[in-house]
């Protein structure tokens, strides 16, 4: 119950940034449009090489823009890492809460609030764009249901991944380096630069063994029907597998880090 309160507090705080959300919507809309124009050029140059229908790709891109703050590996708040750095973590340690759960919940709340402000407007506007450039309806009702479920799982994967990054702050004096490293590698591997279906098949086969493809790729491809509804169970099991692994690892590692932590006075 107390974690639910953490969720609510952080959720309502994050809802306050409405002007920032509007600016974000405009940015992401422009970004998505340019990406679609770029892929259109490739489509026109060689339509046979396109791995999925053009309309599916545009839906993928719009979903990516809409759920950016929910799923992007780099869209975390640096507050936790800062608190480890500057020592305010001492206050958190005094509380009778499990730190891992609290951080996890706070991050979830923040990402959810941001996506509430940004996600829907982007999808609605994109829905009015003419086909094939617009956002289209899911390939079936069951796909939509599976998409929502998989979206939530993907969100948990990314937050669990972020937690591992936060814990590295116990071991470095400056977090800037590890953040840049994480942000860039994860952004690429989760399909933020090029949607994963466009990767060469051999590379994709390797990527499927990493947690990154379980973040946005699985739900989006379920939505467009690229992954048939029948494969949903298998795909979501992979997502759950990663959630379990990453959370267990993070939990253990955090406990281990506490053993060596020294909080300076002052």
């Amino acid at each position: 119950m107390k974690y639910w309160c953490f969720f609510k507090i952080r959720f309502t705080t994050s809802l306050q940034y409405r002007a920032a959300a509007l600016a974000g919507i405009v940015t992401q809309f422009a970004w998505g449009s340019l990406l679609i124009l770029l892929f259109r050029a490739f489509y026109e140059s060689n339509p046979a090489a396109f791995p999925l229908p053009f309309a599916s790709l545009t839906s993928y891109i719009w979903l990516q823009q809409a759920f950016l703050t929910l799923l992007a590996p780099w869209a975390y708040n640096t507050e936790i890492m800062d608190s480890i750095q500057n020592g305010t973590i001492a206050y958190e340690l005094c509380r009778p809460t499990d730190l891992y759960t609290m951080w996890f919940v706070k991050n979830t709340a923040e990402r959810c609030a941001k996506v509430c402000l940004r996600g829907l407007p982007i999808l609605i506007v994109a829905g009015f764009l003419p086909a094939p450039y617009g956002f289209s309806l899911p390939s079936g009702g069951i796909n939509f249901f599976l998409f929502i479920l998989s979206l939530l799982l993907g969100h948990m994967v990314v937050v669990a991944l972020n937690m591992l990054l936060f814990i590295t702050a116990f071991y470095t004096t400056s977090t800037q380096g590890s953040r840049i490293l994480f942000n860039n590698v994860a952004e690429f591997l989760f399909g933020g630069v090029v949607p994963l279906p466009f990767f060469p098949p051999a590379v994709l086969a390797v990527l499927n063994f990493l947690p990154f493809s379980a973040i946005q790729n699985t739900p989006f491809l379920l939505y467009t029907g690229y992954y048939p509804a029948g494969s949903a169970v298998k795909n979501m099991c992979i997502q759950i597998f990663w959630i379990v692994i990453l959370i267990t690892a993070g939990h253990r590692w955090l406990k281990k880090s506490f053993r060596k932590i020294t909080v300076m006075g002052g």
């Binding site: 940015t27 770029l38 470095t172 400056s174 590890s178 952004e187 690429f188």
Partner: protein, 259 residues
């Protein structure tokens, strides 16, 4: 002034070197960032072979030029990128009482040396692209490449200044400007005509990205023989002028946040 700037640079570098692990991670991270954009282009061309008649090495030329000039501009104009922080924490108020030009001080206040990682990476791609694209080099083409670099650096720096100048009014950074900085870098990896006529027109007449990239690029690759295209990147340098004027205008309207 130059001496003072170098002194600032030396101090910042010294400060960054205090935590060597983080500094090198930063460089590595930057290198990986451009490595991933390189792979993005590579993977896409692995599949499609060509886009609108441009080959892989030709696009790589555009790609590396965009990255080189952006990392250059970002390294030295980083202060403007972080300007919203300077306003909100009062750093800028301190600058105002010093007897030096504000643009100079903001530019000298921070330098992002980790961008060297991106720079080296892009330079390697640039050399690779030059050696494989099969362009026979004349003095004019080399001049055009140099102009593209200078023009893009100036244009990117101008956009950073513009972004900072807007902060005088909004007090916080406006995310949509990202489209014109980070976005221009990402999307400028391809010849701008691939985005269609409307985008090209915007990049010709509103913000002159196409003048520093697309048109001189046509000359470099031999698609156009108009030698005056070499001079078009000057537009990037001219663009600094309105940016500076806007900065002055914003400065006059600046009211401190009081912190």
């Amino acid at each position: 002034m130059m001496q003072l700037y170098l002194k600032y640079a030396a101090i910042i570098l010294k400060g960054r070197m205090q935590d060597k692990a983080s500094f090198f991670f930063g460089i590595l991270g930057q290198a990986l960032a451009s490595l991933s954009s390189f792979f993005a282009v590579y993977f896409i061309f692995y599949r499609f072979k060509t886009v609108k008649g441009f080959s892989f090495s030709e696009v790589l030329l555009c790609f590396s030029l965009s990255l080189i000039s952006f990392s250059f501009a970002e390294c030295f104009a980083r202060g403007f990128d972080r300007f919203a922080v300077f306003i909100s924490d009062g750093t800028f108020d301190r600058m105002l009482v010093r007897p030096r030009n504000t643009v100079f001080q903001v530019a000298a206040s921070t330098m992002e040396f980790s961008r060297i990682g991106r720079f080296i990476e892009a330079a390697i791609v640039f050399i690779y692209a030059l050696s494989t694209c099969g362009i026979s080099f004349s003095a004019g083409r080399i001049a055009a490449l140099a102009m593209m670099f200078a023009g893009s650096c100036a244009l990117f720096s101008g956009m950073f200044v513009l972004y900072a100048a807007l902060c005088f009014f909004t007090l916080e950074g406006l995310e949509f400007i990202n489209i014109f900085t980070d976005g221009a870098r990402e999307f400028g990896e391809y010849p701008l005509a691939v985005y269609g006529k409307r985008v090209l027109k915007f990049c010709t007449f509103v913000i002159p990205y196409a003048l520093v990239q697309y048109y001189p690029f046509l000359y470099v690759t031999g698609r156009s023989s108009r030698a005056w295209y070499i001079l078009l990147p000057l537009a990037g340098i001219v663009f600094l002028l309105p940016c500076y004027v806007f900065w002055r205008f914003g400065l006059r309207h600046y009211v401190s946040t009081g912190s």
